[in-house]
Protein backbone atom coordinates (compact mmCIF):
# COMPACT_ATOMS: atom_id res chain seq x y z
CA UNK A 1 0.00 0.00 0.00
CA UNK A 2 1.41 3.39 -0.93
CA UNK A 3 1.32 6.33 1.43
CA UNK A 4 -1.35 8.01 -0.70
CA UNK A 5 -3.50 4.89 -0.73
CA UNK A 6 -3.16 4.63 3.05
CA UNK A 7 -4.12 8.29 3.45
CA UNK A 8 -7.19 7.82 1.23
CA UNK A 9 -8.20 4.67 3.14
CA UNK A 10 -7.81 6.52 6.44
CA UNK A 11 -9.96 9.35 5.11
CA UNK A 12 -12.64 6.89 4.01
CA UNK A 13 -12.57 5.36 7.51
CA UNK A 14 -12.92 8.83 9.07
CA UNK A 15 -16.01 9.58 6.94
CA UNK A 16 -17.55 6.38 8.27
CA UNK A 17 -16.59 7.26 11.83
CA UNK A 18 -18.09 10.75 11.55
CA UNK A 19 -21.32 9.29 10.18
CA UNK A 20 -21.35 6.44 12.68
CA UNK A 21 -20.72 8.60 15.72
CA UNK A 22 -23.77 10.65 14.80
CA UNK A 23 -25.80 7.46 15.20
CA UNK A 24 -23.90 6.42 18.36
CA UNK A 25 -24.42 9.78 20.06
CA UNK A 26 -28.11 9.89 19.20
CA UNK A 27 -28.68 6.59 21.02
CA UNK A 28 -26.89 7.63 24.22
CA UNK A 29 -27.38 9.94 27.17
CA UNK A 30 -25.26 11.53 29.88
CA UNK A 31 -21.55 10.80 30.06
CA UNK A 32 -21.61 8.35 27.16
CA UNK A 33 -23.24 10.93 24.92
CA UNK A 34 -20.60 13.48 25.91
CA UNK A 35 -17.91 10.96 25.13
CA UNK A 36 -19.47 10.21 21.73
CA UNK A 37 -19.68 13.93 20.96
CA UNK A 38 -16.01 14.42 21.83
CA UNK A 39 -15.12 11.43 19.66
CA UNK A 40 -17.15 12.86 16.79
CA UNK A 41 -15.25 16.15 17.05
CA UNK A 42 -11.91 14.31 17.10
CA UNK A 43 -12.83 12.36 13.99
CA UNK A 44 -13.98 15.50 12.19
CA UNK A 45 -10.58 17.06 12.94
CA UNK A 46 -8.74 13.96 11.74
CA UNK A 47 -10.87 13.95 8.57
CA UNK A 48 -9.96 17.57 7.85
CA UNK A 49 -6.28 16.92 8.53
CA UNK A 50 -6.30 13.96 6.14
CA UNK A 51 -7.98 16.04 3.42
CA UNK A 52 -5.20 18.63 3.84
CA UNK A 53 -2.46 15.97 3.69
CA UNK A 54 -3.89 14.41 0.54
CA UNK A 55 -4.37 17.78 -1.13
CA UNK A 56 -0.79 18.75 -0.24
CA UNK A 57 0.39 15.68 -2.18
CA UNK A 58 -1.44 17.01 -5.26
CA UNK A 59 -4.14 14.33 -5.13
CA UNK A 60 -7.89 14.62 -4.86
CA UNK A 61 -9.32 13.36 -1.56
CA UNK A 62 -11.90 10.60 -1.85
CA UNK A 63 -15.43 11.85 -1.34
CA UNK A 64 -17.73 10.84 1.47
CA UNK A 65 -20.75 8.71 0.67
CA UNK A 66 -24.15 10.32 1.28
CA UNK A 67 -24.89 7.60 3.84
CA UNK A 68 -23.36 4.40 5.17
CA UNK A 69 -24.89 1.03 5.92
CA UNK A 70 -24.48 0.21 9.60
CA UNK A 71 -23.04 -3.24 10.38
CA UNK A 72 -25.99 -3.91 12.73
CA UNK A 73 -29.03 -1.98 13.99
CA UNK A 74 -28.41 0.48 16.81
CA UNK A 75 -31.27 0.18 19.24
CA UNK A 76 -29.86 1.31 22.57
CA UNK A 77 -26.83 1.81 24.76
CA UNK A 78 -25.33 -1.64 24.18
CA UNK A 79 -25.49 -1.61 20.39
CA UNK A 80 -24.41 2.04 20.27
CA UNK A 81 -21.33 1.18 22.31
CA UNK A 82 -20.70 -1.81 20.08
CA UNK A 83 -20.84 0.44 17.03
CA UNK A 84 -18.43 2.87 18.71
CA UNK A 85 -15.98 0.00 19.24
CA UNK A 86 -16.49 -1.19 15.68
CA UNK A 87 -15.73 2.28 14.30
CA UNK A 88 -12.59 2.67 16.41
CA UNK A 89 -11.37 -0.74 15.34
CA UNK A 90 -11.66 0.43 11.73
CA UNK A 91 -9.83 3.66 12.48
CA UNK A 92 -7.05 1.78 14.31
CA UNK A 93 -6.63 -0.51 11.31
CA UNK A 94 -6.38 2.44 8.92
CA UNK A 95 -3.89 4.14 11.26
CA UNK A 96 -1.75 0.98 11.40
CA UNK A 97 -1.62 0.92 7.59
CA UNK A 98 -0.71 4.60 7.45
CA UNK A 99 2.08 4.21 10.02
CA UNK A 100 3.47 1.34 7.93
CA UNK A 101 3.18 3.21 4.63
CA UNK A 102 4.49 6.61 5.76
CA UNK A 103 8.14 7.59 5.72
CA UNK A 104 10.17 7.60 8.95
CA UNK A 105 10.07 10.90 10.84
CA UNK A 106 7.28 12.22 8.60
CA UNK A 107 4.29 14.30 9.64
CA UNK A 108 2.02 11.57 8.27
CA UNK A 109 3.60 8.85 10.40
CA UNK A 110 3.57 10.98 13.56
CA UNK A 111 -0.10 11.80 13.05
CA UNK A 112 -0.99 8.15 12.40
CA UNK A 113 0.82 7.04 15.57
CA UNK A 114 -1.24 9.51 17.61
CA UNK A 115 -4.47 8.44 15.85
CA UNK A 116 -3.77 4.79 16.57
CA UNK A 117 -3.34 5.56 20.28
CA UNK A 118 -6.48 7.67 20.43
CA UNK A 119 -8.54 5.01 18.61
CA UNK A 120 -7.34 2.35 21.05
CA UNK A 121 -8.29 4.48 24.07
CA UNK A 122 -11.73 5.35 22.66
CA UNK A 123 -12.25 1.72 21.65
CA UNK A 124 -11.48 0.62 25.20
CA UNK A 125 -14.14 3.04 26.45
CA UNK A 126 -16.65 1.07 24.36
CA UNK A 127 -15.33 -2.24 25.67
CA UNK A 128 -13.21 -3.04 22.61
CA UNK A 129 -9.70 -3.94 23.73
CA UNK A 130 -6.97 -5.55 21.64
CA UNK A 131 -3.44 -6.53 22.65
CA UNK A 132 -2.24 -5.09 19.36
CA UNK A 133 -4.68 -2.39 18.23
CA UNK A 134 -4.96 -2.00 14.48
CA UNK A 135 -2.98 -5.11 13.62
CA UNK A 136 -4.37 -6.81 10.51
CA UNK A 137 -6.14 -10.09 11.26
Amino acid sequence: MTELEALQAALAAEYQAVYGYGVVGAALTGHDREFATAALTAHQEQRDRLVAMITALGATPVAAAPAYRLPFPVTGRASAGELGGHLERGIAGAAWDLVAAAQPDSTQRSAAIAWLGAAAVRGAHWGMTQALPGQPA
Binding site: A102, P104, S110, G117, A131
Partner: protein, 139 residues
Protein backbone atom coordinates in the same frame (compact mmCIF):
# COMPACT_ATOMS: atom_id res chain seq x y z
CA UNK B 1 39.06 9.11 -14.05
CA UNK B 2 42.71 9.13 -15.22
CA UNK B 3 44.04 6.71 -17.77
CA UNK B 4 46.18 5.06 -15.08
CA UNK B 5 43.26 4.53 -12.73
CA UNK B 6 41.20 3.13 -15.62
CA UNK B 7 43.89 0.55 -16.23
CA UNK B 8 44.05 -0.38 -12.55
CA UNK B 9 40.27 -0.69 -12.45
CA UNK B 10 40.39 -2.95 -15.50
CA UNK B 11 43.07 -5.13 -13.90
CA UNK B 12 41.06 -5.48 -10.72
CA UNK B 13 37.99 -6.41 -12.73
CA UNK B 14 39.89 -9.06 -14.66
CA UNK B 15 41.35 -10.45 -11.44
CA UNK B 16 37.88 -10.55 -9.96
CA UNK B 17 36.64 -12.62 -12.90
CA UNK B 18 39.28 -15.36 -12.45
CA UNK B 19 38.00 -18.91 -12.52
CA UNK B 20 39.44 -19.92 -9.17
CA UNK B 21 38.68 -16.88 -7.11
CA UNK B 22 37.15 -17.51 -3.74
CA UNK B 23 33.56 -16.25 -3.50
CA UNK B 24 33.28 -13.23 -1.32
CA UNK B 25 31.49 -14.12 1.90
CA UNK B 26 28.01 -12.67 2.10
CA UNK B 27 27.63 -9.88 4.62
CA UNK B 28 25.55 -10.92 7.62
CA UNK B 29 21.87 -10.21 7.12
CA UNK B 30 20.94 -7.10 9.07
CA UNK B 31 17.67 -6.95 10.91
CA UNK B 32 16.03 -3.58 10.34
CA UNK B 33 15.60 -1.58 13.53
CA UNK B 34 17.43 -4.24 15.56
CA UNK B 35 18.37 -1.78 18.31
CA UNK B 36 14.82 -0.43 18.53
CA UNK B 37 13.36 -3.93 18.66
CA UNK B 38 15.75 -4.85 21.48
CA UNK B 39 14.78 -1.69 23.37
CA UNK B 40 11.08 -2.50 22.97
CA UNK B 41 11.65 -6.07 24.20
CA UNK B 42 13.50 -4.73 27.26
CA UNK B 43 10.56 -2.45 27.99
CA UNK B 44 8.11 -5.35 27.85
CA UNK B 45 10.30 -7.50 30.10
CA UNK B 46 10.56 -4.66 32.61
CA UNK B 47 6.78 -4.20 32.62
CA UNK B 48 6.15 -7.95 32.99
CA UNK B 49 8.57 -8.08 35.94
CA UNK B 50 6.83 -5.05 37.42
CA UNK B 51 3.42 -6.74 37.10
CA UNK B 52 4.87 -9.85 38.77
CA UNK B 53 6.09 -7.74 41.68
CA UNK B 54 2.63 -6.17 42.07
CA UNK B 55 0.82 -9.49 41.73
CA UNK B 56 2.96 -10.93 44.54
CA UNK B 57 1.47 -8.45 47.00
CA UNK B 58 -2.06 -8.04 45.59
CA UNK B 59 -5.27 -9.60 46.79
CA UNK B 60 -7.04 -12.26 44.70
CA UNK B 61 -9.33 -9.91 42.73
CA UNK B 62 -6.64 -7.36 41.97
CA UNK B 63 -4.21 -10.14 41.23
CA UNK B 64 -6.53 -11.55 38.55
CA UNK B 65 -6.83 -8.12 36.90
CA UNK B 66 -3.07 -7.70 36.92
CA UNK B 67 -2.57 -11.17 35.42
CA UNK B 68 -4.77 -10.18 32.47
CA UNK B 69 -2.79 -6.98 31.96
CA UNK B 70 0.47 -8.88 32.25
CA UNK B 71 -0.66 -11.38 29.60
CA UNK B 72 -1.10 -8.51 27.15
CA UNK B 73 2.57 -7.60 27.61
CA UNK B 74 3.44 -11.23 27.00
CA UNK B 75 1.66 -10.91 23.64
CA UNK B 76 3.67 -7.76 22.89
CA UNK B 77 6.92 -9.52 23.74
CA UNK B 78 6.01 -12.44 21.48
CA UNK B 79 5.17 -10.03 18.64
CA UNK B 80 8.62 -8.49 19.12
CA UNK B 81 10.12 -12.00 18.84
CA UNK B 82 11.34 -11.89 22.41
CA UNK B 83 11.74 -14.78 24.82
CA UNK B 84 9.73 -14.58 28.05
CA UNK B 85 11.21 -12.67 30.93
CA UNK B 86 12.39 -14.37 34.07
CA UNK B 87 15.86 -13.10 34.61
CA UNK B 88 16.45 -11.96 38.15
CA UNK B 89 18.30 -8.88 36.92
CA UNK B 90 15.29 -7.48 35.00
CA UNK B 91 14.51 -3.99 36.24
CA UNK B 92 11.23 -3.50 38.11
CA UNK B 93 9.31 -0.22 38.10
CA UNK B 94 8.12 0.97 41.47
CA UNK B 95 5.42 3.10 39.84
CA UNK B 96 3.77 0.98 37.15
CA UNK B 97 1.46 3.73 35.90
CA UNK B 98 4.41 6.07 35.39
CA UNK B 99 6.40 3.30 33.70
CA UNK B 100 3.53 2.64 31.29
CA UNK B 101 3.27 6.35 30.46
CA UNK B 102 7.01 6.56 29.86
CA UNK B 103 6.88 3.45 27.67
CA UNK B 104 4.22 5.09 25.48
CA UNK B 105 6.57 8.00 24.81
CA UNK B 106 9.53 5.72 24.12
CA UNK B 107 7.58 3.41 21.81
CA UNK B 108 6.14 6.35 19.89
CA UNK B 109 9.67 7.64 19.33
CA UNK B 110 10.75 4.20 18.12
CA UNK B 111 7.72 4.07 15.79
CA UNK B 112 8.44 7.51 14.38
CA UNK B 113 12.05 6.69 13.54
CA UNK B 114 11.77 3.01 12.50
CA UNK B 115 13.10 2.32 9.02
CA UNK B 116 10.74 -0.60 8.48
CA UNK B 117 7.09 0.34 8.13
CA UNK B 118 5.95 -2.92 9.72
CA UNK B 119 8.19 -2.37 12.74
CA UNK B 120 6.90 1.20 12.99
CA UNK B 121 3.30 -0.03 12.99
CA UNK B 122 4.10 -2.67 15.60
CA UNK B 123 5.76 -0.13 17.92
CA UNK B 124 2.83 2.27 17.44
CA UNK B 125 0.32 -0.48 18.20
CA UNK B 126 2.13 -1.54 21.37
CA UNK B 127 2.32 2.12 22.41
CA UNK B 128 -1.45 2.37 21.86
CA UNK B 129 -2.04 -0.71 23.99
CA UNK B 130 0.15 0.68 26.79
CA UNK B 131 -1.81 3.92 26.60
CA UNK B 132 -5.01 1.98 27.19
CA UNK B 133 -3.41 0.13 30.13
CA UNK B 134 -2.19 3.39 31.66
CA UNK B 135 -5.62 5.00 31.23
CA UNK B 136 -7.49 2.00 32.54
CA UNK B 137 -5.70 1.07 35.71
CA UNK B 138 -4.01 4.23 36.88
CA UNK B 139 -1.94 1.65 38.68
Amino acid sequence: MSRRSLLIAAAVTVAGCGKHHRPRPKPPATVPDATALAAARDLERMLIASYDAKIATAGPKRSAQLEVAKAIHGTHLAALHGAPAGSADTAVATNLHKALRQSVRTLRQLATAASSGMNAALFASIAASHEVSAEANGT
